[in-house]
């Protein structure tokens, strides 16, 4: 007999998520046969941005997510610079990379130890770690103890990652140092030394502790390489610019389709947003540059504040596994455990790249370009958050923000069904997941956590916009330029 299970709240994620699954016997084994993911909070950032100074966008959009704010700073400055048709100086590019990398490292460490690991171990015997489910805990007492200790040392490491980012960014979370056109401060020799000392310590932790702990979990839960695949289409916008025009990235832009290893290009025009199951009243299938969204609650057949972005009509997964696969750095498959492994491998790759950026900084070189925002302009900023591909679409009219549209990683991963009734990536990944004890559906939680959902990012209001010709002006961002009015 089918059993309906509701997980609400889903804890140990960022934001507000409800997951409902139906479990039934298939081939003699009880498993998920249907899943629905509901984003349960919406805030309306785009409408808050409308009418504001375009240069406020980095500091406002950062507050979309306090776990991974810096990617929003990065996407916003890329959109602003695309709209102004300028490149920030090298020092700005490098310091942005260094602050963004600090935020990635904090986030990946936090995700594994503080959000996900409790699904696999016997947690400490007190709040907030109790009450806890006890089903299917395979790590022995000694290994669990080691993980609990590393949970605590990881609290220190993620704190230090934020301290490292604050060396240039002033503070984290929510740096105020990202400006359209550059960066607010100069990289002094003292600051470079300070960042480096943190970088060495964090690299050692990621290499010697984090990677080993993920391996220990992967050994005990080897069957999780078979579970939670989802659509197996992987998309990455690319992140950590390696040249001034933003054409080269540490983790490249691209996409891989299910069943093929071929690297395919990303055409931003192929992205369309669907609202068939979302509480908005607008037409489905519009590109974000032309999208409109008006909240509509209640609405028949809708069940989420998250919209459903699709690429050429297909469901894509985004995140560390997508980035590492697209970049040729991860040879594994797509599953719960592959997501954890790829995230740990990516943390090591990023930690290993810090020294290269530090060594390129020039304390006396410029950090800021002359900026002039045309009275009318548009720009798109594409980057990656720890959780996956992130895009900001900006329209400026009369020197103010006329429209701001944000498509976040968790929109891709935790989207509801689209107009063709195609479930989102997480919904697909849940189907087929065995559930041994419906009173303790820990398996469901493991699949959800493997995506590292960030719901604050995923739910927002978008403003009506005009269709605009989109051209590629720089590798780091697409922009469409409306002739400036003098």
């Amino acid at each position: 007999m089918a059993t309906r299970l509701t997980l609400d709240p889903v804890t140990r994620i960022e934001g507000h998520l409800k997951v409902e699954v139906t479990a039934d016997l298939v081939g003699g084994r009880q498993q998920v046969v249907e899943a629905r993911a509901t984003g349960t909070l919406f805030r309306g950032f785009e409408s808050v941005l409308r009418g504001r100074d375009p240069f406020d966008a980095p500091d406002i959009t950062a507050r979309i997510c306090g776990v991974c704010p810096t990617p929003h700073n990065q996407a916003a400055v890329a959109a602003l610079e695309a709209a102004m048709r300028l490149q920030a100086p090298e020092n700005a590019r490098l310091m942005r990379n260094l602050v963004l990398a600090a935020d990635f490292l904090h986030s990946h460490i936090l995700h594994f130890y503080h959000l996900a690991a409790l699904d696999f171990m016997t947690p400490p015997s007190m709040a907030p770690w109790q009450p806890a489910w006890t089903a299917d805990i395979r790590l022995d007492a000694a290994t669990s103890r080691v993980l609990v200790n590393h949970y605590l040392s990881a609290l220190d490491m993620r704190r230090k990652a934020h301290e490292m980012g604050a060396v240039f960014g002033g503070r984290l979370p929510h740096t105020a140092a990202f400006l359209g056109g550059g960066f607010t401060g100069a990289p002094t020799a003292e600051r470079i030394r300070q960042y480096r000392s943190y970088a060495d310590e964090i690299l050692a932790f990621v290499r010697d502790v984090y990677a080993a702990d993920v391996e220990a979990v992967a050994r005990a839960y080897g069957d999780y390489f078979q579970f939670g695949a989802g659509p197996r289409n992987l998309l990455a916008f690319g992140v950590f610019e390696e040249d001034a025009p933003g054409t080269l990235h540490l983790l490249r832009r691209g996409r891989v389709e299910a069943g093929s290893s071929a690297l395919r290009p990303v055409d931003v025009q192929a992205i369309a947003e669907d609202v068939a199951s979302s509480w908005y009243s607008d037409r489905s299938g519009l590109n974000p540059a032309a999208g409109s969204t008006n909240a509509s609650f209640p609405k028949a057949n809708a069940y989420s504040w998250v919209k459903s972005p699709r690429y050429a009509g297909k469901v894509y997964e985004v995140g560390p596994l997508a980035r590492m696969t697209v970049n040729g750095d991860y040879p594994g498959g797509v599953s719960v455990m592959d997501r954890h492994q790829a995230r740990a491998a990516e943390a090591l790759k990023i930690a290993g790249a810090l020294e290269g950026w530090l060594s390129q900084l020039e304390p006396t070189a410029p950090v800021f370009a002359d900026v002039r925002m045309p009275s009318r302009a548009s720009g798109v900023g594409l980057t990656e958050a720890p959780r996956g591909a992130l895009g900001h679409w900006l329209d400026v009219t009369d020197h103010a923000i006329a429209r701001y549209q944000i498509v976040t990683p968790t929109c891709w991963n935790a989207s509801p069904r689209d107009a063709r009734a195609m479930p989102g990536a997480l919904e697909q990944a849940l189907v087929g997941m065995p559930v041994s004890d419906t009173a303790q559906p820990i398996e469901v939680l493991r699949v959800i956590h493997s995506f590292d959902p960030c719901l604050s990012c995923a739910v927002h209001v978008m403003r009506p916009g005009r269709t605009a010709a989109v051209s590629v002006s720089r590798g780091g961002a697409w922009s469409s330029i409306v002739t400036p009015q003098a």
Binding site: T6, D8, P9, T11, R12, E14, K18, T40, L41, F42, R43, G44, F45, S47, V48, R52, D53, F55, D56, D59, R63, I64, C65, G66, V67, L110, H114, P123, S125, M126, A127, P128, W129, Q130, P131, W133, R145, V148, N149, L155, D156, R158, R159, H162, E163, A166, V167, F168, R171, P173, H174, A176, G182, F183, G185, A186, A295, P298, V367, F368
Partner: protein, 298 residues
């Protein structure tokens, strides 16, 4: 669940060094361990970004609790926190409700209260009867039996960015929505020390005098400009001019009450103005205002 903190430390095999404790901290730690039932704290997240919780995890101080780990293990019983609780779904809801039945807990709220669509702009949980519970319903319920309500950050305290013009989801502050007295910890996010301080005061049974905006006067006392090391310097003409006053770039330090210049952020590593970034005024009830954050000279 009934295990004491002493058992917990023994279980983990934790040494004082692991927690970064000094000899004197260790004495205090022993005192706390002798009395393992710290005050119950329930942490709810409404219309916010989790930035306040992340900032709380950045706690590091010579004073106890010396770190986030010390806070969680030795200071408080954090019965519910959306990002830290092991339990999900109904198990988490039951933990909240057991605390509610007893009453007398500290309620920490991060994020404001969305009221649009009859509260449907934000849900927090599904209750035991299968009903969707909105943020508004949950905040009202858990506030009603709290011994104190601490608003962690701009959104819970005054609405913050989600409540700024045109406030598309009808966000209200926790105080405005519940009509209860709240202790308002400003900041977007607040410094971790500002969030730990009121909890410690409540633990010690001390009263917390506040200003007209509900901010503890012990924390929010002097303007940023008043304490700024760049106060008497020439005004910067452009970005990245070290050791110049940032007023001409749009600094809100003169209007903003906060201890950032002396306290600094992230273990004292830096602060906004130290990175050449003008103060955005994030501890003020008016944050983020309507106007431009920055001025671009030239």
């Amino acid at each position: 669940m009934n295990t004491t903190r002493r058992d917990f430390l023994k279980y983990c095999g934790i040494s004082a060094a692991t927690l970064g404790l000094t000899a004197s901290d260790l004495l205090h730690l022993q005192d706390v361990l002798a009395n393992p039932s710290g005050p119950i704290v329930l942490w709810l997240q409404g219309s916010g970004c989790t930035g306040c919780s992340v900032s709380l995890l950045n706690r590091i101080s010579p004073q106890v609790p010396t770190s986030a780990a010390d806070l969680l293990i030795n200071s408080i019983n954090l019965v519910y926190h959306p990002n830290l609780s092991s339990a999900a779904g109904i198990v988490a809801v039951e933990a909240l409700d057991a605390a509610y039945a007893r009453g007398g807990y500290v309620l920490a709220v991060e994020g404001g209260v969305p009221t649009a669509f009859g509260g449907a702009a934000g849900w927090l949980m599904t209750d035991a009867a299968g009903n969707d519970v909105t943020v508004a319903q949950a905040v009202r319920k858990y506030a009603s039996r709290a011994s104190a309500i601490v608003c962690m950050g701009a959104c819970a305290a005054w609405g913050g960015i989600p409540a700024s013009k045109p406030n598309p989801t009808g966000v209200l502050s926790v105080g405005a929505y519940t009509r209860r007295k709240t202790i308002n910890i400003g900041g977007c996010p607040p410094h971790p020390d500002w969030m730990v301080w009121p909890i410690v005061q409540i633990m010690l049974g001390k009263s917390i005098p506040t200003d007209s905006a509900g901010r503890p006067t012990a924390i929010f006392r002097r303007t940023v400009h008043d304490q700024c090391p760049l106060k008497e310097t020439d005004e910067a003409k452009y970005w990245a001019q070290p050791n110049r006053c940032l007023k001409s770039l749009g600094c809100w330090g003169p209007e903003t009450v906060a201890a950032c210049p002396s306290l600094k952020w992230n273990n004292g590593v830096n602060w906004c103005v130290g990175a050449g970034s003008p103060c955005l005024g994030c501890t003020s009830p008016s944050f983020p205002r309507d106007g431009a954050f920055h001025k671009f000279p030239g």
